[in-house]
Amino acid sequence: MFIALLCLPFAAAIASWFIPTDAPRRLVLLTVAGGELLLALSCWIIPPISFNEEIFQLDAMGKLVLTLTTLLFFVASVYAVGYFRSETAGVRKDFQQGLHFSNAPEATFTACLLLFLTSAVLVAITRHFGLLWVGIETTTLVSAPLIYFHRHRRSLEATWKYLLICSVGIALALIGNVLLDISVHTQERPASSMSVDALILNAGNIYPGWFKAAFVFLFIGYGTKMGVAPMHTWLPDAHSEAPSLVSALLSGALLNCAFLGIFRLFQISTAVGFGEFASSLLLAFGFLSMLVAAMFIVGQGDFKRMLAYSSVEHMGILLIALGSGMEAARGGVLHMINHSLAKAALFLLAGNILAKYNTKSGHDVTGLAKTLPFTGPLWLAGIFAIAGFPPFGLFISEYSVLQGILRQGNFWPALLYLALLGIIFVGMITPILHMCQGKTPPGIRPARTENLFLTVPSFCLMLLVLSLGIMMPEWFGEALDLAAALAFKP
């Protein structure tokens, strides 16, 4: 099963480089994305057998991340078909700077998309720290060309910042890996085994100084990739300049990969008796991320950058949840899923708005509900969902996190959490209401219908976010319990 999960997208990536025409290549992309999703879903029915101890092993958290990644990739692939068709070939004018640019070859883009899927799947199915690092680093390398699909100055600037900042961040995580290995290095432990279980098995013989250093480096490294403030600087640029389907994957799938790295680190920390040290760091950076996000969301004119800063906020919530005990962590895992679904839907919709209005400025977009009859209402619903409004799933998960914080007796952090959520809610809703109301600007013709490839994916994702808020299946609740329990009782 693991081999199939990795080989299918990898082989398709290689093949897509050599397929000369667009239609068969797009068919390959859709087929592989669908096949990969089916493989991931089948893991819920037939649990795959572990391969070589924990090099490949699917635990509850890995299973959730794997399913979420493949689902988002499938949805993004459906969107990609409509997106490729709507893109004008050849050189054209950049609406923002007025300079001419062209797109990267579609074959390269498709291949990189599939390689991105391969690396994200690798991150989800391994419990080995070394391989986890390899997977996360590979996601950086293969997603850089995706950000630079539109070959203009802004996307190149964003790509370079992304590549350099994330590579340095991941290099710091590599230092953390080496220090972690050293900190749990004894005669008894199997040589160089960096799997979660092997590290926990040797928890009694830890070198505390080395372990703390390892934690700090790993946290900063994966935190950079996750967009945790103050290491988040690459995120607004990359998310706003990448094509919308790439932004959806970056925000919905890539950030989760980095979060999984931090989750695994937290697993080890609690097992070796450094849970309190880890929690305090997670809480500090979690609140800082929410604060930074709130500062930049309020008054943000660029709606894609606003979504990017919203990702910084939600990554902060995930850290707070993980650092606030079992109950909040369960809410955090649910929040990871809700955020990925809602944010991916919003980025895809942002792409539709951008294509219609030729601007990323929220001030210049008006009458959205009339101009784009499907995108407009979905966009409004999506923003309410991501801001934590009931009955969407994010309300439930944010509320669970709050309950978890209060159960720990942390009244002031709970109050701060609520205040920041409130500020961000107002900061997001105000410009979006402006975008949806009013008249369509002159020169833009309202559309009667929209391309189904570009709207149905977001609709399905929003439906899932709504379902998770209204009724959660029992089996899904159990999966959340199991995943959250991993962080505290490995």
Binding site: Y148, W160, L164, V168, I175, D181, A191, S192, Y207, G209
Partner: protein, 221 residues
């Protein structure tokens, strides 16, 4: 170093570690890209030789294979990639934000800090880690310093490569456990990383007609 015979493995190890610190400081003082690439190649070769001095495992051929791979990649292949990229760009002197004297002084402070940190962290099961730690962290520090003080994208790659060299050095004592697959995966990732960055630098030059990162000023809040 007292008590270690000069021509023993440990003696040679200390000599190489000393030379690596010297290459770090020279890199911080370098004023031309060509010099930088040569120093990176020299550092890569020195690092490539380390597995021969640290291996105490059972397989005699193993350290030679590892040394050949790392010597070839870090000492020859990666510098060659950088050289090739540099040749496609116009001549440009290094123009760091901070002067070379100040950079070297900060580098020396980094070395002192690494020595202090090594003392604070204490000994581990394998004493070699404590021995390589100060040099490794000095190299990591020098790499980070190069990234943040350099004005052009290509010179920032030099810093990234030096940073990776420092991390590799920290991991070299693991050679004893003969677990090559992971090291090779990491090396491959770094190789691809440098390759992708090299391509990005050429694109930056074509689009901006310069590799100066000061020109990146559009994406702001």
């Amino acid at each position: 170093m007292s008590g270690v015979p000069f021509f023993s493995s440990m003696g040679w190890l200390h000599v190489i570690l000393g030379f690596i610190v010297l290459t770090d400081l020279s890199l911080l003082a370098a004023e031309h890209r060509r010099v930088c690439i040569r120093l990176i190649a020299l550092q890569g070769m020195l690092l490539g030789a380390l597995p021969l001095l640290m291996h105490t495992g059972e397989t005699a051929i193993y350290p030679w294979v590892v040394a050949a791979i790392f010597f070839g990649t870090k000492g020859i292949l990666l510098p060659w990639l950088l050289w090739r990229t540099m040749k496609q760009l116009p001549f440009s002197a290094m123009r760091p934000y901070v002067g070379s004297t100040v950079c070297v002084l900060i580098g020396l402070c980094g070395f002192m800090l690494s020595l202090w940190l090594a003392g604070r962290l204490g000994l581990t099961f394998n004493a070699l880690f404590s021995q390589v730690f100060p040099t490794s962290f000095t190299t990591i520090f020098a790499g980070l310093l190069l990234i943040v003080t350099q004005r052009t994208a290509l010179n920032q790659i030099f810093g990234y490569l030096v940073l990776e060299n420092g991390i590799y050095l920290l991991n070299v004592p693991m050679i004893q456990y003969e677990n090559l697959w992971l090291e090779l995966s990491i090396l491959l990732d770094i190789l691809v990383g440098i390759f992708v960055m090299g391509i990005a630098v050429l694109h930056i030059y074509r689009v901006f007609e310069s590799t100066d990162v000061d020109r990146f000023a559009v994406l702001r809040d």
